[in-house]
């Protein structure tokens, strides 16, 4: 039986559609879902942490560089507000730490005395210099007077998404 040329084309098209549908099904299948039932508490906590970090990276990958840099500053500021000084200290550039805060205690003391208890951040400018960014930030004290706002710089070097080091103007 002879198959008409048009029919051949249609059959070929249908085969292509079927192949594409199979590929689309495979790639859209949710990745290995974590089975929390078979995990220990410690493993669950690590898995959740990893999941959160991945989601954060995914969000950051959608941001422009200015938004990302402002996000990193706000991360640092959040850690200080929440008194997680060790976390904030770990974000600082090694040479900056050596120059101004050789120990965590010194940084903690500085943060407690120089940074407000509750921040209001206003980003006024940003400059890029290679892969280093300089941000001009006005740091307001939500609990203090208007005059208590301080202008300062943050310098950030981004190595990868959510992988950065920074420094700030020591007053």
């Amino acid at each position: 039986m002879k198959v008409k040329k048009d029919n051949k084309l249609i059959i070929f098209g249908i085969i292509v559609v079927i192949i594409l549908a199979i590929i689309a099904f495979i790639v859209s299948k949710p990745k290995n879902k974590i089975d929390y039932d078979k995990m220990t508490d410690e493993e669950i906590s690590v898995a959740i942490q990893e999941d959160l970090e991945n989601k954060e990276k995914e969000e950051l990958s959608k941001m422009g560089e200015r938004d990302r840099m402002e996000y990193y500053v706000s991360e640092f500021v959040d850690e200080i507000e929440n008194e997680n000084y060790e976390e904030a200290y770990s974000m600082l550039y090694d040479d900056f730490k050596k120059n101004y805060f050789p120990t965590l205690d010194q940084f903690e003391e500085y943060a407690k005395t120089k940074f407000p208890r509750m921040f209001a951040l206003e980003h006024t400018n940003i400059e890029r210099n290679g892969n280093t960014y300089v941000l001009w930030v006005t740091l307001g004290d939500l609990l203090g007077s208007k005059d208590s706002a301080v202008e300062m710089n943050f310098v950030i070097q981004e190595n990868d998404l959510n992988d950065f080091v920074m420094s700030f103007t020591v007053k």
């Binding site: 249609i10 594409l20 859209s28 900056f96 120059n99 101004y100 310098v155």
Partner: protein, 323 residues
């Protein structure tokens, strides 16, 4: 038209266009599934950035070839490293012979002065491809290098954000990748002459920096009269002609040649190397052969004008400078 008629017409339409409808559906399905696949493809999460060190700022469609990117970065790192260490001789040796000769007169002291003006203390740096231009069949890759203090180490404590910068040029020479600094781009021998019975003008060479062109010109007075090429009495006495405009020389001195005298001078014109224009000619538009010339300083206007009016000859001369 009742419902049965309508139903029959629709059925008839579908029967008549069955093939076309199936083809359209297949195309739609292909597009739909391809779109779905692309949307769900695992993608690498990388920071979105506007920083592309090797893509030209002046022409975003022009990039440094892949094979040169790393060698250029390595050369810059080595050069800045030597400068930061104060090892000026080694940094100087990295430059092309032309750059050493025409930008620094083959003197490491001149180079040192240049380096200290850009980086008086050890500096960090960042690079950005600025523009790519062609000269003599060679492609020149011009980078801007910015020198800053170690901003990360200080957080700008007790300082403000500032930087120095210069253009560094790379090109493939006979012995590999050559490097020029100090905004020096290239040198070319022009050897172009214009002459008449009174005056011979010989444009010897041209040195191109990023934003200026410098011409070395020899004037020979062949007459027994004073020849005035420039004394600020006329407009545009020395100009560089481009295809669609002219540029006046910056800081021209008075050029007055005594009988049979010859002098060699340099003329500097503002011109960006990547502006797309090629310099065409040097024009000396108000040359005067004077029977009597009293100069222009402390001389009254009437005398100056009278001497100009009585000039033996007035003419302009143009010397071709195309490469």
């Amino acid at each position: 038209m009742n419902f049965t008629d309508f139903r029959l017409k629709v059925r008839h339409f579908f029967r008549r266009n069955k093939r076309l409808i199936i083809i359209i559906l297949i195309i739609w399905a292909i597009i739909f599934f391809i779109n779905m696949i692309l949307k769900n493809m695992p993608r690498e999460l990388v920071p979105e950035t506007t920083y592309e060190a090797h893509t030209s700022i002046m022409d975003s469609g022009s990039s440094t070839p892949e094979s040169l990117k790393q060698p250029i970065e390595d050369l810059i790192a080595e050069y800045v490293g030597y400068c930061n260490e104060g090892n000026y001789q080694k940094a100087f040796n990295m430059l092309s012979a032309d750059c050493r000769k025409y930008e620094f007169q083959d003197k490491v002291e001149n180079f040192m002065t240049h380096v200290l003006s850009k980086m008086p203390i050890p500096k960090k740096y960042s690079i950005q491809s600025y523009s790519n231009v062609k000269y003599g069949g060679k492609k020149l890759y011009i980078y801007e290098i910015k020198y800053t203090d170690d901003l990360l180490a200080t957080g700008l404590t007790n300082s403000t954000y500032q930087f120095t910068s210069e253009n560094i040029t790379f090109y493939q020479g006979d012995d590999g990748l050559e490097m020029n600094v100090g905004n020096y781009i290239y040198h070319t021998d022009i050897k172009s002459i214009a002459e008449n019975e009174y005056l011979k003008i010989d444009v010897i060479d041209k040195v191109v920096n990023y934003s200026i062109e410098t011409y070395e010109v020899k004037f020979t007075n062949r007459s027994n009269y004073t020849v005035v090429v420039s004394d600020q009495q006329e407009n545009d006495e020395v100009i560089l002609r481009l295809p669609n405009e002219v540029r006046s020389a910056s800081q021209i001195q008075n050029i007055v040649l005594k009988p049979q005298e010859d002098i060699t001078l340099k003329f500097v014109f503002p011109k960006f190397v990547d502006d797309g224009d090629e310099s065409q000619a040097l024009t000396f538009s108000s040359i005067r052969v004077m029977e009597k010339y009293s100069g222009v300083e402390d001389v009254d206007e009437a005398t100056i004008q009278s001497e100009i009016d009585n000039a033996i000859s007035k003419f302009s001369m143009e010397v071709n400078v195309t490469e």
